[in-house]
């Protein structure tokens, strides 16, 4: 398939030689402009995105919209603070002209993004941008260019924001990604549900199924093209596989009893799922191509909600074999499991970070729910959220942000999707047209 984008480390980077000018304290900084995002309290880095230069009056609206998405991505990450347009002393009217750094230093902008947009034949957009370290008065990395179809303009903006984020944090970005989730309408107890998909920021929402049957817990394939989920359309909970583009679905191999809690392996070839027979629930793995199924756990306890490590060699899951719901790790081929959760309360829904370093989970203690993370050996448990009902974390593509759903209490209680950094900061609601639950975050789109 022809790639959606091609990007060129295009034009020769223009070295801007500007005589150094007296600056504020930042001039004394020895290292590159960088924001560390793992620890504690930080001060968001001030940045500015003056209006992108459009190649025609007709393209100016698109240029503005695109720049706005870049700003929203960076601001929404909680790591950057926009110095708004109405504070700018000058703008960028010519993308290739030297930058007047003094104008930006004067309003304490540390990172400056300049951009230009042109629209070609057949609705093809091309966006060029540069990133500048204002106080060092240099560009950070080469200028870059992204191209794509007009209808994918938001994806172009996300790719621009990813690059800026990456250069300023040293981490991969996460903005060109999607979330599949359950969209819910109606009163508590009479909820109608359907699968839906949206960009990570809530844009481009559309439904993937109708709402005639209960649907639960959809999970993206690694390539973002398929979704596993659980549906009651046959009368009992069963696992289905859906193609995102065609919306065609098929039931996974027939089972007697119930099947649910499916997840893809990191190579997309196997499905980990829970089967419930005669009241007992255990973990199984199924190879999609051969439809061959292998049982992984044999125990009278509940074993469910499994997920793979990013290298596919291990599985984390929840079990009540110790008497209460706890988190375990075992080899992906089955075998001896070791428990990793030891705090007060019950633990469930373990999900392995794509970086391999942490496992996120839901914890229930003294009537409160929490989303938390711990190291894969169970140490350094940290709770990131607390409420009446927070559940079901899913990792951003770069392992730095979690989404989950939060349900309010009482007769009119309803769920919404939230996101939070692994530092516990920047908790906020993800906008959805209806109530929403069970989010699953895709990998970065190619």
């Amino acid at each position: 398939m022809r790639p959606l984008f091609f990007f060129l480390a295009a034009f020769a980077a223009i070295v801007l030689s500007v005589a150094p000018q007296p600056t504020l304290a930042q001039a004394a900084r020895s290292g590159p402009l960088r924001i560390e995002i793992t620890n504690g309290v930080i001060e968001p880095m001030p940045f500015a995105v003056p209006a992108f230069v459009a190649d025609s009056a007709a393209s100016q609206q698109m240029a503005n919209d695109l720049a706005r998405v870049v700003v929203s991505d960076l601001t929404g990450s909680g790591l950057f603070r926009e110095v708004p347009r109405n504070a700018h002393i000058s703008g960028i009217s010519n993308f290739d002209a030297p930058v007047q750094f003094a104008d930006w230093q004067a309003i304490n902008v540390q990172a400056l993004v300049t951009g230009a947009l042109s629209e070609g034949i057949g609705g093809r957009l091309t966006v060029k941008f540069r990133l500048f370290d204002v106080f060092a008065q240099t560009s950070m990395g080469e200028g870059l260019q992204f191209s794509g179809q007009r209808k994918d303009w938001r994806r172009i903006a996300h790719k621009v924001a990813d690059t800026i984020y990456s250069r300023l944090t040293g981490e991969q970005g996460y903005f060109d990604s999607r979330v599949v989730f359950v969209s819910e309408t109606g009163a508590k107890g009479q909820r109608k549900r359907r699968l839906a998909i949206m960009d990570y920021d809530g844009a481009n929402y559309h439904a993937l199924t109708d709402d005639r049957a209960i649907v639960l817990a959809p999970r993206f394939s690694p390539d973002g093209r398929r979704v596993l989920y659980t549906s009651y359309e046959t009368g009992t909970p069963q696992v289905f596989l859906l193609d995102v583009k065609t919306q065609r679905r098929r039931r996974l191999a027939n089972t007697d009893g119930m099947s649910f809690a499916p997840r893809f392996s990191p190579d997309g070839k196997r499905v980990l799922l829970s089967l419930s027979k005669a009241g007992n629930t255990d973990l199984y793995v199924e190879t999609l191509a051969t439809r061959k199924r292998t049982r992984l756990t044999v125990a009278p306890s509940i074993e469910t909600a499994g997920s793979f490590s990013p290298d596919g060699t291990q599985i984390t899951f929840e079990s009540d074999r110790s008497g209460a719901q706890q988190i375990y790790i075992m080899p992906a081929s089955g075998g001896e499991a070791r428990r990793i959760s030891f705090g007060d309360g019950r633990y469930g829904t373990p999900v392995w970070s794509p970086r391999g370093d942490l496992i996120a989970f839901t914890k229930i203690n003294k009537g409160r729910f929490h989303v938390g993370v711990m190291r894969v050996d169970g140490s350094e448990e940290r709770l990131l959220t607390s409420s009446f009902l927070d559940e079901g974390p899913t990792w951003s593509p770069n392992g730095r942000v979690l989404m989950f759903f939060r349900e309010t209490r009482g007769v009119s209680g309803a769920p919404s999707i939230y996101s939070v950094d692994i530092s516990g900061r920047n908790l906020k609601k993800v906008p959805t047209p209806e109530f929403a639950s069970d989010p699953s975050w895709s990998r970065e789109r190619k």
Binding site: G189, A217, G235, A261, G279, N280, T281, T349, G410
Partner: protein, 161 residues
Amino acid sequence: MRARLAVFLTVGALGLAACSNAIPDSGLGGANGVGNYKYDTVEYFNASIGDRVHFAVDQSTLSPEALSILDAQAAWLIKNTAFSVLIEGHADEQGTREYNLALGARRASAAKAYLASKGVSDNRMTTVSYGKERPIALCSAEKCWSQNRRAVTVVRAGGSS
């Protein structure tokens, strides 16, 4: 084909009518009036015997009260072989989604196993779990949660499921 079927059904209905007259009423006189259901009906089962049992938090063990309700369910089912049952297992909202599905499965299975031990034949019973997805009481307090932790025996026409 259709005409033959109609004739068969009519004959069958007459047959049933003849039989039901021979079974004593619940003693409250006739099929009229609120709660005065005929013994061999789903309504009687639900109103007079009870279609559900309840569970403690996180548990699937059957309490003495649950056992006595299930005893009565079993007795009725053994007498009324024209019905089959779907046993639904449910959980309250105080747990995570997958765990509650599994817990509901345990509860449904516990009720089914007990009914089987009392002589209800296996091929008349199926189970399903709804986890926490179908609460009947909506408040977020124990008085509602306790109602949601349940196994419901749904009686349906048709001798085997």
